[in-house]
Every structure is written in C-alpha cells, then in structure tokens.
Amino acid sequence: MDPEEVPPPLALVDVTKSFGSVRALRGLSLELRSGEIHAMVGENGAGKSTLVKTIAGVHRPDGGRVLVDGRPTEFAAPVDAQRAGVAVIYQEPTLFPDLSVAENIFVGRQPRTRLRTIDRGRMRRDTEEVFTRLGVHMDPDRPARGLSIADQQLVEIAKALTRKARVLVMDEPTAALSGVEAERLFTVARTLRDSGAALLFISHRFDEVFSLCDRITVVRDGAFVSCDPTADLDVDTVVRRMVGRDVSSLYPKEDAERGETVLEVDGLTRHGVFADVSFEVRAGEIVALAGLVGAGRSEVIRAVFGVDRYDAGTVRVQGRPLPPGRPKAAMDAGVALVPEDRRQQGLVMESSIERNATATRRGPLSRLGLLRRSAERESAREWGERLSLKSGGLAEPVSTLSGGNQQKVVLAKWLSTEPRVLFVDEPTRGIDVGTKAEVHRLLSTLAGQGLAIVMVSSELPEVLGMADRVLVMHEGRVTAELDRDEADEESVMYAATGQRPSEAA
C-alpha cells in the first residue's frame, strides 16, 4: 500500500460468514473510497445483503477483517457501525409502524433542547428539509403504519441521509421505487459523493448501476469475482460474470393466441383509493398495469382478488360474478395473486419453505382431509427446481432465504395453483437478471398456455417488454389503454403523470 495514500474510510478483507451449513460469504473483499459510488451486483443469494449486514454490524463475520480508515475494527452491534460513520439502507425497510415518520428518521438521535427533552419542532423541520431534498411530500407527523413499500423505502433513505454519514450503504433502495423517485435519489447520491462520502449501491437494475456508479464489484456465491471501473464494463460482461453464463434474451415475450375473455372488471370503485376502474383480460393475454407508485394499481388487483373490500363495481371470471371480499372464492374460481409485499403479504416468514410454497394447495395435497407431507415436499421441490431456488433445505424457514429467493417462493406458491387468471404485483422485484429472464419466460409460457395475466410493474422495460396491452393508472383512475405497438416509454409516462400527449407537446 502506498503510504502517502489516504486509507479508504471502509474496507473489508477476506470476510467469511456462514449460517449453519450455508456459507453466505466465502472471503469477500471490498473497498469503499471517498468520493466514489461503488456498485455491487450479483445473483439472488450471492451474499450482497449479508455483506451489507456485516458492514452494518448486524452480523459478525466468522473470519476476515473490517477496516475503518485502515484500522481493523470490530462492529459488535449496529450502533458501533453508526458511530464509525456508516449509514445503511437495508433491503427490507424496518420502520417503527407506531412512531411518526419524523421519529422514524431520527429515532435514538432526536434533536434535543437544553433540558435534554426532544425538540419536536426542530425534528419536524429537519424532516421536512430532507423530504424536500428527496422531493417527497409526506406529513412528518403521520405514523409509519400504512405507508406503502415505496414510502417506507423513502423514509429509510431519509433516515440514512440525515445521519450525514461518511459511508452510505444502499441495499436495493430502488427496488420499490419508480423512475421519478429513483432519479431524485440518484441526484442526492451524487451530491453526497461530490461532498466526499463513500457510497455502496446494490441493485439488480443495470441501467441504474451503469448510470450512477463509478466502479462495479461482481460477487458470486459469496465470493469476489471482479472489480472494475464502470467505464471498462458493459452489461453483458457483468451479467456473464454474475451468472457464470450468457443470459440469452431478457424479455422473451412470445406471442400467444388470445382466447375468450376470462376476466371482466367493471366500474370498480373504492372511495378515496381508486374510482371507476374497468378492464377485460382475455386468455393468453398479458395486461400490464403501469403507473407511478401509489397510483392505486396494487389496490385494484387486491380488491379484485378479494383481500380488500370495494364500494362499487363488479368482477366476473369466465362470466361468473366473483363475490367481493372473499379470496377463497377467487381462488376457487381460478384467480391467483402474487402480492407486492412478499414479507407481509406473501410469506409466513417463520414457516418452512415447503409449507409456504404449498400453502395455496393444501386441499389437493391432502388425502381424506389429512395432509401428506411427502406430497407437500415433492411439490415444493419441483417448483423450487423450476425457479432455481437457492436454499439450505426446503425444511428451513423462509426467513433464511435471500430476498430474491423469497420472491421465488411466492411465485411458486401461486403458480402451482395452476390459475386461469394470474395477478402478479411487481413479480420480479429484487430478482436478479438470470432469474428474471426465467420468470419472464415462465409468464410468457403460461400466457401461451391460455392463462390470463395481469401484471403490475413499476419497471417500464418490463412493462413494455412483456405486455400485450398496457393500462396506465394515475391517481386511482385508468388514464390510458395502450396496445403493445402503441406503448412506448413516452406514451406510458404521459398517461402515468396524468398529462395528455397533446398537452405536453
């Protein structure tokens, strides 16, 4: 090492970490330099989040060293990392639902008056300030309960930013965000970089990685693969290094023959959330619901499926009306819903992988009312294989899986019901490129087999690549219906922001 050189604020050397028999990190090294945004990419389960948690002091490494300013340091608890100037945005938002947004941001370090009581006024102002920087309009005094994932993620970002840390680690901060918010975040990130902070950015979206980051580290199976300046790399190289092979086509949408109308939604309204939503989906068709975060897309499909109530409108599946508010009836009619929030809505985290994966089909998997474990296991194994699930064993709790692999379990859980109508809400959130292609291929094949698919996605390329038809929502209403050939980035974004092409022009 050059003695003149300033040591990097944070470096990891040969870090190893195992969970039971799963070796999540096998000698990973990483160096975060001041004034640089460093990207880390890797497949689901490659160990990125584990590394982040090691940096954050959540996990203690089994081996290797953590260097702060070149000095070996031990982070025994998150608070140690925070003291060392490290701020972390975790992959899964961890807010306090009962505290106000402002308190969530400042918990444990609220500004204080001279009497050491909390200075609420200042806390509020500081919150508003950081929200302004991020372009967020959120009442600092509202409780965090009931915030959408996107909003939660924004609060997490605000939390990390206000720490004024020297090292900022972001684990898939944009997975829940749409382009607008993500772009704001990037502006802030660049400002931070320019003021000398070291940033680590993790994402499965390569456009973001390439536009934002200065260097890219690729990891695979918990081991270091490469680290190069962004300028020296292209997407294909990175993907090859990540996955260990070439990934053919990212969006292999096959054209399928459209059959009869399977799903009819008419005048669906939920006061204050969405209004007068009507659409039809035919067998073999993939309809995308596009829009900005909070446009009400998830709410619509949740209402259709019956987990939310609605105030007016009708839903028909194959001509037969679906009773409102009864998910079981929807399932019996052949409807499936892959929800957007896998941890809250999709999975029972404490339960095993196999139980989660078969939770939708306990009836068919039992004989004389008694569940057959072998059938459960067999079914889970089969779907695990189809979706390249990476786990330490199907009897392990789902909570031990990496984020992307958890998403696969949710997919397995619903695809295995062999539905007629499939709702997928952000189906590839947090899924790596390789698997994403597999998921897309799977959806496409299913559509080919006559399934009607409604896909909510905030990823425009996914929408444009997969959909036969695009419905765009804005503030609770459907503002445009675009055919595959009409839909492009521009037309969708216009509708999503509530403008008409003519107005904008």
């Binding site: 270091f224 693969v225 490469s226 985290m349 404490e350 008694l370 569940l371 695990g384 189809r386 064993g393």
Partner: protein, 372 residues
C-alpha cells in the same frame, strides 16, 4: 486494498438447484429435529417427574392416586385443547373459567327447575357455544384485542353466573351422575372414563392441528395473518369458530366439573384460567402465536398436575408448591433458550471437508475445498 482480480472462467456445471431436502428424511436427522422441537423439554420433564415420583413418592403410583391426579387435571386438560389452537393464532381466551362457571350455574338452574340432566347438558353446551361465539364476535367482527375482550367477558360471564345462582348452591344432583363421572373406564382403576375421553379428544385436536389444512392455517394466522388472508384463509371466521369451540369445550368442562363435585356455585373454578394458560405456555406454545403442539400442551397439563400431586403427597407446604410451579414455568422457557444458545456458540463453523447431513445445495459443491 481490494484485490483487483477477475475471474473469467464461468463456474462449471451449475446444476439445477432447488436443493432436495436431506434433513427431513434420514432417521438421525428426524430424531434431531424431534429433539430440537419446543415441546421436548416439557415431555422430558414429564417423563422424569413421573418416573421420579413413581419411585420415590409413596402412594404416587397407585391406581387410586392416578385416579385423583387425572380428575384434578381433567377440566384444565379439556380447556387447554381449544386454548392451544387459540393461542397459536396469537389470540387468548381468559374467559374459560367463567364460561365453565356460567355453564355450571345454568346446569344447576335447569336441574332445579326440573329439566332432566340429559336435556340440560345439551342446553349447557349450547350456552357455552353462545358465550364463545360472543367472544369471537367481539374479537373478529369488532376487531377488539382478545386479551382485553376476554378479561371483560371473564367478569361478565362470572357475573351472570352470580345473577343465575346468587349465593345459592345447587347440590341435589342424582348420585349416579355424580358418581358416574368418576367411574373407571371398563373397571380399570386409575383410568376414569374422562381420561379416555381426554385422550381421544387430544388425538382429535392433535390431528386437526398438525395434519390438516385447517391446522396449518392456524399456524399461518399466528405467524402472519395478513399473508394467511392473501392465501385465501378466512382469518375472521377461523378465529370466530375457535372461540366458539373454546366456549363449547369450557361448558363441557363445566358440566363435568359440576358432576365431579356434585355442586353448582357461581364462584366455582375461580382463577382457573391462569392455570390453563400456564399449562399451555409450559407446553411450548408461543404466546405470540404460530408455534405449539398438542403433545407439548398435554404434557404441560399433566406435568403441573403431577408435580402438585406428588408434592401434596409429600406433605410439602403449598407456598413451596407455588414457588416450584413458578420456577418450572420460568425454567420451561429459559432452559431451551440457553441450551440452544450455548449449542450455537459451541457449534463449529461449518468445517471444510465432509459437511454434515444437511449439505448445502449442489451448487456449492465445487467450491467445497476453498474454505478458510
């Protein structure tokens, strides 16, 4: 300094993953998984207690005493069964003892007014169902927290028992019914028929909880009711029926209790709810829901009863008994946790070379050699 090396060669043969689950199949692993189960300590403690008491406490292992033991825990055992299901869905029913009392009072009033016992019995069960359904209604439809609701109905139902009976006691039950509930099954001493009934009921509850789709959904509800709802489980109806079931069983226990003691009084079984809860928790059911087993709970019920019984035979004073009960409860949760933690601390980091039974997925096989 981060080493700037680049791996060009892709990793060889990435077999399709979706690891088969080796741990679930091998007998050794199965035994290990059995041993690490939450109820193991209580089952073990029960075995030790029964053996110890049988060997060292005079008169413990006599038919008559077993008879006493069974009768003393019968009502608790009955009420613990639905309570287990309720706690697994992360609710609680503290009104069971009051339901028992109200059902007993109802039986008394009916019997006094000349209704034959065979009819009165069914009316009592119906009353119990109504009381349980009322709890269920408040919890599911009104969305009130069950702990608070059932503290309220605990007072309400007990109060209604007072309204029915006042300060009177009904003790004129026919001798053959009163003696009947204590009668041995097929003439075997130490095996009152209620024991057989409880065994059969436990088996039924065990199958329901552990081997049916319904039972699974209870665990799901307890762990994450939102996800359960997204999976088509009707959380509200499920809970509603559980509370109703609890009411029915508690009133059944009330009928049994009444005939066992030959009397109906409004203040009967006062404070029994905490004993039921204690047994359920001792049996390894998590108070936060989502974890538990019928075997554990039944062991918990019998364990508490057996220790009481043995200490009473020893003539040990009741203060000590109370202290021991408390310490057992604490030990039941503290020990497994400490054991698990020391085990985790002592467990060697996954060794290079032959990895134990639950090997990671095949994908990691090629890299096995390069561990630290």
């Amino acid at each position: 300094m981060a080493p700037e090396r680049t791996v060009t060669a892709p990793a060889p043969d990435r077999a399709p993953e979706g690891a088969p689950d080796p741990s679930g199949r091998r007998p050794a692993a199965r035994i290990r998984s059995l041993l690490s189960a939450r109820e193991t300590p209580v089952v073990g403690a029960l075995v030790v207690t029964l053996l110890g008491a049988g060997l060292f406490v005079d008169m413990f292992a006599t038919g008559r005493n077993i008879d006493f033991l069974v009768l003393s825990v019968a009502a608790i055992a009955l009420m613990a069964l639905p309570m287990t299901l309720i706690v697994i869905t992360s609710e609680i029913d503290l009104s069971v003892a009051s339901t028992l009392a109200l059902s007993s009072a109802t039986l008394g009033v009916l019997w006094e007014s000349g209704v034959p016992i065979e009819t009165a019995l069914w009316i009592c069960l119906a009353v119990g169902a109504a009381l349980g359904a009322f709890n269920g209604f408040l919890v599911t439809v009104c969305g009130l927290p069950s702990l608070a609701v059932t503290i309220g109905t605990m007072a309400l139902y007990r109060g209604l028992a007072y309204v029915l009976l006042g300060d009177r006691a009904v003790a004129s039950y026919p001798r053959d019914w009163v003696g009947g509930v204590r009668a041995p099954f097929l003439g075997v001493e130490g095996l009152p028929w209620i024991a057989v009934a409880i065994l059969l009921l436990s088996a039924a509850f065990g199958v329901l909880l552990h081997a049916t789709a319904f039972g699974r959904s209870l665990f799901d509800i307890g762990n994450n009711d939102e996800a359960a709802r997204f999976t088509g489980v009707s959380v509200r109806w499920t809970k509603f029926w559980l509370f109703t079931l609890s009411g029915v069983v508690a009133s059944g226990a009330g009928v049994f209790w009444t005939l066992q003691y030959g009397t109906s009084r409004a203040d009967t079984a006062f404070g029994l709810e905490l004993q039921v809860v204690a047994a359920v928790l001792l049996g390894g059911v998590s108070i936060f829901g989502g974890v538990g087993s019928i075997l554990g709970v039944m062991s918990g019920v019998v364990l508490l009863g057996a220790i009481r019984n043995a200490l009473q035979l020893f003539g040990i004073s009741s203060e000590v008994l109370q202290i021991v009960t408390g310490l057992i409860l604490i030990a039941s949760v503290v020990t497994p946790n400490l054991v698990a933690r020391t085990r985790a601390r002592r467990a060697p980091a996954p060794a290079p070379g032959p990895v134990p039974a639950s090997a990671p997925s095949p994908a990691s096989a090629p890299t096995k050699g390069e561990a630290p």
